[in-house]
Symmetry: C2
Subunit: 449 residues, 2 copies
């Protein structure tokens, strides 16, 4: 063996299967990344100093890990700041309610009114205009537990549109049974929609236990009067995406996304420090395995969680705009944003699934329990959606969301909820799939045209 | 059969076994009592208007159920009122801490200091005087899960004495890993001791998850600076015991206790609406079963949870004082104050256990899974303790406390945590044991002398 052969042998890329097995053994930097991010910075609300500091820390960390072209891409946005907040039952007897303001909702200086309950958004919408004048509308719908998280989207309509629809019918305030599957005394926040630059009335999510309590009082024939207080505010700020590359031999890009911002109640461990750790862990394994054909780009998005009243582009759309000229070089993308429980299926568009690349991907992932999904990848997620809309091929590694919505957007979203073994399986699936894609010369854009 | 025999037959008391089986079938008023108490009044802090209203409601309810001699016995006390409260990590980066003030702790207008952690109360006590000047002492000890609740008592020493001991060493504030077995993001409140009429420094319990977060930051070599804020206050008030009898044919009394007051965070369902429902349910079954030999007295105590800075007698000791003259007529007592999970053992003093009464009691309870405890009843509990000290014989129906301290003194102490089947078993055990005691002529006082 001559020196050239030896060097070639030493620099040959590890196979996707080898990276997969390394990750399953826990030999990756992903979990450490999540631990430091959630411990050092705690919650990282969109546009906050904590989000900004975390972005600088992440960039430093990625540089130290050998990523290249590491930089921040900033964009303006409105930052919503939770204030002091309180929901109280005033009658039949005073008692506190565990509740939390919806993201974007306005301040409330003790808005009082009687509760009118609706079993669903459809029922609320069926109420005539003016019928809720001075009342507090309460949408009391349960969230169905589903592995693919579909129940969240369905119940979530009331969070997004409820305050606007209730205000149009005259309501002075809006309450929502938390969008969550837990049944605990735990309020789930989340963004609600703006209309004409504002959320028209104070809006809160009450815990499932408190929703039951209100329901019982109504069933006992009591009129339930409540008071809503919040000192929330909106201020002009900025957020940022962190971009970092593992450079390949060509200028083609495989883009991995996750988001750095989080809600303010927990430390954003499952939403979405986990995702950032999974893709950073996978990308670093690929880097250590040897130079690939394509560049693996990690984007840690800012401001995924909350909309902008002026409808300015946030993390995902800012990236798509800023990189419009090079989108043709983006050959595949996917994001990790449903916690850290095991991946059970891979969603690919039909032609990609039928290609040699798709078949090899599924063969690689089968040993770690990942099947071909019957669902299409659709937009792929909030952050990579704007790329997908512009023709970038997308995959989804579907994570088990069965318990995700027990703690999603609550104070319970903390590091201890991450199951290390399942986290490792996520890193393994990403490392194997992305290593395969980065070393492939298959034209996936052509396939999905 | 003549008319007299028929009437005798109709009025003969149901057997303890029959009452037991009725309760197991769910045929009692106990659960409804708990549901109304927790739903209509929510939390019932000692000395609060809610506690007072609940006491009046309970008295009305007991009268409606046919109890006699129903009345309130009031006593003066200091009411501790939780205010707005906040614990924040200031450095290395600002982040909120889920925490709650200990009952009795003073207001804090943003007390700041660096955390010094101790693994136990012993370690704190070993610190020299002056060694904590300006610091925030943090006792970080876990609570051991035990069926009999023993772990609570051991870890609880730090809650009771920690603020005083820390203050003596110069500390500006006190933090405690919540006394609880849950490991969730849930702060457990509870009373701390007064010294010279006050708690010397601000004192909070942080959730187990936040204790871990602080621990990780310290382990990463960070100095952890925190700010403690609370607007808690103490005001002069009063509380009350509700006394209600099922009259027997003699003036001897079997006294059943539980407490109406609760902590302010939850609705006091397991602590101790459950206990009140269990004893009311059992006593009502006995009343419906026919007149017993002895009076069955239900006492729903006020102000069990919190001490008085002036060390005035609260619920349990007020009753013992007010009824000093008739304590000789109290032939047996017990209290229900550890939730609503199943009873697994009966504790009796050795002579009572060896008596015909004791043997019959254990025979009656065996079919519902209650064995003879290896533990003695000791003081029987906080509320009946003052009676026991004055020679009233006591029993303990030991409830399974395995999961009790997961939610004890937290916002999660709500109605949904009561398991109806286990609640029924509690009512069954109390109904059978108390029916037996009320119809017995055994001199238990003589037995325990």
């Amino acid at each position: 063996m001559n020196l050239t052969s030896l060097l070639l042998l030493l620099t040959v890329a590890s196979s996707p299967a080898e990276l997969r097995d390394k990750a399953i053994a826990g030999d990756h930097v992903g979990y450490e990344f999540v631990t430091q991010l959630t411990t050092l910075f705690g919650p990282r609300p969109a546009g906050s100093p904590a989000e900004q500091k975390a972005a600088h820390w992440a960039a430093d960390r990625l540089r130290a890990l050998g990523f290249e072209n590491v930089h921040l891409e900033t964009f303006p946005m409105s930052r919503w700041i939770r204030g002091d907040e309180k929901v109280e039952i005033l009658s039949p007897n005073p008692q506190p309610v565990v509740a939390t303001a919806l993201g974007g909702a306005p301040a409330a200086a003790g808005v009082e009114g009687e509760i009118v309950a609706f079993a669903s958004m459809d029922e609320l919408i069926a109420a005539p205009k003016g019928s809720l004048t001075g009342k507090i509308a309460f949408v009391d719908r349960r969230t169905t537990r589903m592995q693919n998280g579909q129940g969240y989207g369905i119940a979530g309509a009331a969070r997004a549109r409820g305050p606007i629809e209730a205000a149009e019918r005259g309501a002075a305030g809006f309450l929502l049974r938390s969008i969550g599957t837990d049944g605990e005394r735990r309020a789930h926040t989340g963004a609600t929609h703006f209309r004409d630059g504002k959320v028209p009335i104070p809006a809160f999510a009450v815990s499932s236990v408190d929703a039951d309590q209100i329901g019982r009082l109504l069933q006992m024939g009591q009129k339930v009067r409540v008071r809503l207080t919040s000192t929330a505010s909106l201020v002009e700020s900025q957020s940022q995406n962190v971009v970092a590359d593992i450079r390949g031999r060509t200028d083609e890009i495989v883009l991995l996304g996750a988001h750095l911002d989080s809600w303010d109640l927990g430390t954003g461990a499952i939403d979405d420090a986990a995702g950032t750790g999974i893709i950073v862990g996978a990308a670093k394994l690929i880097a250590d395995g040897g130079k690939a054909r394509r560049t693996v780009r990690v984007v840690l998005y800012g401001s995924e969680e909350i909309g902008d009243p002026q409808r300015r582009p946030l993390g995902g759309s800012s990236y798509a705009l800023a990189h419009e000229a090079e989108l043709g070089k983006h050959v595949l993308t996917g994001e990790s944003d449903m916690g850290a429980d095991r991946i059970y299926a891979l969603s690919l568009s039909e032609p990609v699934a039928a290609s040699a690349f798709g078949k090899e991907a599924l063969r690689l992932l089968a040993p770690i329990g990942v099947l071909q999904s019957r669902e299409l990848p659709r937009r792929g997620g909030v952050d990579v959606g704007p790329l997908v809309e512009k023709g970038v091929p997308v995959f989804v590694l579907n994570q088990d969301g069965s318990r995700y919505f027990d703690i999603h957007h609550t104070a319970e979203d903390t590091l201890d909820k991450i199951d290390r073994k399942q986290f490792d399986q996520n890193v393994a699936a990403w490392a194997a799939l992305i290593a395969l894609a980065a070393n492939s010369d298959a034209d996936l854009r052509e396939a999905v045209k």
